[in-house]
């Protein structure tokens, strides 16, 4: 049984070159970190706007629903539709060429780290918005007023009142995004032109080749890593108490 774990880390002893497994996990963690940061900033900002800037409940619900638009189409269609936008002869390249900003089409718009990050952010931001919005809507407005009355600036209120009170939402949203991105292989595959490895893709390839034992070992490794991340996250907040 341990042989399968040994195989998963095959040739990993030879430093300084990293073996495929380590490089794959580093790449996955890199996307995870970038996507988490971007979705957190975007998600928090949007949730803040929806909760504190929009007065009417109807407008708030309508706008929140608009955030789910990426889920209205199938994964495949969504992926394919990036090509006319980002492709070599796509809309963005055409516009930039016509404006004279560039003279050669930008190749890195599609099938690159950029496009993978973009697509992951595109579909995962809503998982950040909803829990944060949920936490924010429970914040007692009188606390915000009290902060203003006590002379806090907008940023101080945000940092000392709103963010601590939205912590549960931020943690739950982070768990959603991190688990999805760590396990993702479809988006990374399609948007990376199948040339960017991910932990999930490794498992998928091994299963495709009927190598179930090593796939199982890889799955356990991935599970352990994700659990460690989540364990760290819930150190920051007692989710059970917050809910």
């Amino acid at each position: 049984m341990l042989d399968n774990y040994a195989l998963a880390f095959n040739k990993c002893a030879g430093f300084p070159d990293l073996c495929t497994t380590f490089r794959t996990y580093l790449s996955t963690l890199k996307f995870c970190a970038i996507v988490w940061t971007v979705t957190l900033v975007l998600g928090f900002t949007i949730a803040y706007y929806l909760n504190f800037e929009i007065r009417s409940t109807t407008t708030r619900i309508v706008l929140a629903l608009i955030c789910t638009i990426p889920f209205w189409t199938s994964n495949v269609i969504r992926m394919i539709s990036w090509i006319p936008l980002l492709g070599r002869n796509g809309l963005i390249n055409q516009i930039l060429l016509n404006l004279g900003v560039i003279h050669q089409p930008l190749e890195w718009l599609l099938y690159s780290d950029f496009s993978v990050t973009l697509a992951l952010v595109h579909i995962n931001t809503v998982f950040m918005i909803v829990p944060i919005l949920n936490s924010m809507s429970r914040i007692d407005r009188s606390l915000v007023e009290a902060a203003y009355d006590a002379g806090a600036t907008g940023w101080q209120t945000l940092w000392n009142v709103i963010i601590p009170l939205s912590k549960a939402g931020i943690t739950i949203g982070s768990i959603f995004v991190i688990t999805i991105v760590m396990g993702d292989f479809v988006t990374t595959g399609v948007m990376g032109g199948q040339q960017i490895a991910s932990a999930g893709k490794v498992i998928e390839t091994e299963i495709g080749a009927l190598q179930f034992p090593i796939a199982a070992a890889q799955a356990i490794i991935l599970l352990a890593i994700v659990l460690m991340i989540i364990w760290t996250l819930i150190r920051f907040v007692d989710i059970r108490k917050e809910l």
Partner: protein
């Protein structure tokens, strides 16, 4: 979930809605068109295969002729193998490829097909059954179908060396794949697999990402580059594997590939959008690109093709009525209608005689003999799927994974044919007119009425799923529009 509850939507209504959607999805996809007759419990066969091999028209016709309902289960190539090995009860009939058999047969989950119950067993294409054409032996590398055609016994896990009465698969179709190119963007002749890794096409090449198939394309490239001389591409030594993979890794790191594709639609999109100009390709995909009015060639190469063949197998648990129905369906499949249908997609059906009897003379001449289209100028749009007759009847036809050598007379003829075929039939504006009604009324064409058939190959081509293999389920109408745009 909380939200839905507070808005007073009961679990039941949600379930109903889901069921309705599921019904809609199923109804718009593979299993449409059954007449609303309630036969006395018609037998349903769950037909597992890749979408490439599934076509609503065939299911409709089978129901009309036999009263057997075909319920398509469409998954990807590797998934077919995985299902047979891990979930042998999840299907009643499987259409898989010969190259998978070395994984499938040792599992013992498939039963040998009884030759005595297959009426046309003697008529099966000799290229599959014997590995020869008109008595001439053909290339033998890889899992050539004739090597894995027979089992020692019905439930044996060993292949028989000599013909027995137990067949592993009853062949359905076969074909050969090569590189597809965009002649307008390349602007010079391409004649070798080595061109796939030519730095000239850096960032504009692609290779098939179904590993078991793509590795063969990579092997063709490696041999063409002179890096490896393989003993048998279908059974590489460790050193050969290492060199092949090293070449691929180097090319990938150098940025040779734009993307890898594993799905029919992806290959069409890559080529049509100009993301790639040279890539592994399947012939119906080339046709799909040309139908958009974009120049694309299914390029013959001097090193030869990579061939494949697929066929039916039954799970060993199948019995009684279901088993009889499965044999009945297989016999029907070989009896001509389905073969003719597949020939019109650009494939070769396993029993050519019966297929020929079900095709019009001009259809046979066009699709199988490679003669110029006779009926209308419209048929030219599919010219790149046209095959030279010699490929089938006289040339050393490839067996699975076995490239056939260039330099024979028939090869020269073939190449000439392809050249004339491509240059004489530029896609023109009429394509668009041809496609418009089809995308709006796919149902009509799916039935392949005599009128539709008379339109010639392109009509039949889009008539079913096989020409656009991965357009399944809900995707079909949108994808059809896309393909015709």
């Amino acid at each position: 979930m909380k939200d839905t509850k507070t808005r007073g939507i009961s679990r039941r209504s949600v379930l109903k809605g889901t069921a309705a959607f599921a019904g809609l999805a199923a109804g718009s996809g593979a299993i449409t068109g059954f007449p609303a007759i309630l036969a006395a419990e018609p037998i349903t066969l769950r037909y597992l295969s890749t979408a490439t091999n599934q076509s609503p028209a065939i299911a409709d016709q089978a129901f009309k002729d036999l009263g057997i309902k075909i319920e398509y289960v469409s998954v990807e190539t590797d998934e077919v193998t995985k299902r047979i090995v891990t979930q042998p009860d999840s299907f009643d009939l499987v259409d898989t490829e010969y190259f998978s058999l070395k994984n499938l047969v040792p599992s013992g989950n498939l039963m040998g097909m009884d030759a005595k119950k297959i009426k046309l067993v003697d008529k099966l294409a000799t290229v599959i059954a014997k590995g020869e054409i008109d008595g001439k032996k053909i290339g033998d590398q890889g899992t050539a179908p004739h090597k894995v055609c027979y089992l020692e016994g019905q439930h044996s896990k060993n292949f028989a060396k000599e013909p027995t009465e137990w067949l592993t698969l009853i062949p359905t179709t076969y074909n050969a794949d090569t590189l597809g190119i965009r002649p307008d963007l390349i602007g010079r002749p391409i004649d070798s697999w080595a061109e796939l890794l030519n730095p000239q096409f850096k960032g504009k090449a692609s290779i098939l990402n179904i590993p078991s198939i793509g590795i063969m394309d990579a092997a063709m490239v490696n041999e063409a580059l002179g890096k490896v001389k393989y003993g048998d591409k279908g059974n590489m030594t460790k050193a050969e594997i290492d060199t092949t993979i090293a070449t691929l890794i180097d090319a990938k790191k150098a940025g040779q590939f734009r993307a890898f594709w594993s799905d029919f639609n992806e290959s069409v999109n890559l080529m049509a959008s100009g993301e790639t100009v040279i890539q592994s390709m399947w012939s119906p995909a080339v046709t799909a690109v040309r139908l958009k009015g974009i120049a694309c060639t299914f390029q013959p190469l001097k090193e030869g093709y990579r061939a494949w063949a697929s066929g039916f197998a039954l799970p060993k648990t199948l019995k009684d009525k279901q088993l009889d129905a499965a044999y009945e369906f297989v016999n029907w499949f070989l009896s001509g209608w389905a073969g003719a249908y597949l020939n019109r997609q650009g494939y070769y059906s396993a029993v050519l005689d019966t297929a020929k009897a079900n095709m019009e003379g001009y259809e046979w001449d066009y699709w199988m003999e490679g003669s110029p289209p006779r009926r209308t100028s419209r048929v030219r749009t599919a010219a790149c799927s046209r095959r030279p007759a010699r490929f089938v009847t006289a040339a050393p036809t490839p067996s699975a994974w076995a490239p056939w050598r260039a330099g024979t007379r028939s090869w020269t003829k073939m190449r000439t044919w392809f050249r004339s075929g491509t240059s004489s039939s530029p896609p023109d504006g009429r394509n668009h007119n041809l496609c418009t009604p089809r995308s709006h009324a796919p149902g009509r064409f799916r039935q392949a009425s005599p009128a539709a058939r008379r339109r010639g190959p392109p009509a039949a081509l889009l008539a079913g799923g096989a020409a656009c293999p991965r357009f399944s389920g809900l995707l079909r109408p949108a994808a059809a529009c896309h393909a015709c745009r």
